[in-house]
Symmetry: C2
Subunit: 216 residues, 2 copies
DNA sequence: GTCTATAATAGGATAGAC
DNA sequence: GTCTATCCTATTATAGAC
């Protein structure tokens, strides 16, 4: 394992740079979430990473670019990870139940970033704001579409898909503002409780917990 | 109507001062909502009111005190105006329906202030933050209590009042982030739709729209 | 109650050495 | 890729005249 073959340890430099970028984004998300974007200085982010303020500009052109990276994490990831659940096999109830599950688990896994992404959109440049809003609107539309599909199939008895989609997503996203696992309320309990509240109760599906055959 | 009786035109000076205070709070809420608290300077607030920056300090000791005033509006007012609806006569379904109605109308009437109050709490001083959180927690507890009452009376079939209270309030508060009246979605439609989604569908009440006698 | 003028500080960002 | 040093500007807040 000498240095004869450079390809044996490929992209070591690039990987390290990428890792440092992610350290910066993670540290920034933490401080932004606690104090608010505009109240945090580049020096404070740098301290959290363990470098000097000027070094951040080797990785990001501006403070807003760091915020943009945080916001991308919580708008693009759900589109890439959760929306495929809506394209999978199954009834609208089953597919929406899977999305609610995935959505809540992503909200928790990226809890810090979501707090920023849901509160600091006003600080983005107009171009970045438009892009982020586009991801969010697409996600919203896909949720509305699966509700509409469930209404057509007769599974959902709700009268207005648009209103229901707002209600569902606001209810889900609210989680990141209050959920802290404790002795009598862990994530699995919230997830199954919310799937029931949304899919069975609010939308009116007869059942949805586990994959099932279509009704005869 | 001479100057013999000072009480004939009472508090004229105080009323004007109070009015200017409210102008400042209103202008600040607008700019905070659009750009975020920390991104707004005292000069910008002053411009919106039509005075110089220094003049604001005659009415408020600091920028944070203005934010505190905005946050008080959207945490104390709902406690004072909406919570009495939970103490009125009627079944838990009826009382919660009235609260949902009042809550949504307040969210809309104080739309700008709510955007600030829901996004900028991190910028409050610890003391103010604690006070505001107290109002919010009390409101949340009252909603949970009426849900518990409905569970005991058998009207609500939901399994967990705490989880349901979070779901309901997050769903309601989300309104201020997206609702703009348009041709096919006015406030009355959203209110009646959300009352149905929350009280009838999510919580499981058989009906609640209008006052009714208890079931035999 | 509002003004002008200014203090005191901190902010984002850049230049250039290593 | 990170550092030191620094520029330039904007900020909150105060002092004191009117």
């Amino acid at each position: 394992m000498g240095e004869a073959d450079g390809a044996a340890v490929p992209m070591t430099r690039g990987a390290r740079t990428r890792q440092r970028r992610e350290e910066i984004v993670a540290a920034a998300a933490r401080t932004f979430a606690e104090q608010g974007y505009a109240a945090v200085g580049m020096r404070e982010i740098a301290d959290a990473v363990g470098v000097r303020g000027a070094s951040l500009y080797h990785h990001f052109a501006s403070k807003e670019e760091i915020l943009y990276a945080v916001c991308l994490t919580v708008t693009r990831e759900p589109n890439e990870e959760n929306l495929p659940l809506l394209d999978a096999a199954g009834t609208p109830s089953q597919r929406l139940a899977a999305l609610v599950d995935g959505h809540l688990r992503h909200l928790h896994r990226r809890r810090t970033e979501h707090v920023v992404g849901l509160h600091e959109l006003a600080a983005l440049t107009p171009g970045h704001r438009t892009e982020i809003d586009g991801y969010r609107r697409y996600y919203q539309r896909r949720v509305r579409d699966v509700i509409t599909a469930g209404m057509r199939s007769g599974e959902f008895t709700v009268p207005d898909a648009r209103l229901a989609a707002f209600a569902v997503l606001d209810m889900l996203n609210g989680l990141s503002n209050w959920f802290r696992p404790d002795r009598d309320l862990d994530l699995d309990a919230v997830v199954s409780g919310y799937v029931d509240l949304v899919v069975v109760r609010m939308l009116g599906a007869a059942h949805c917990a586990s994959p099932q055959a279509p009704r005869p």
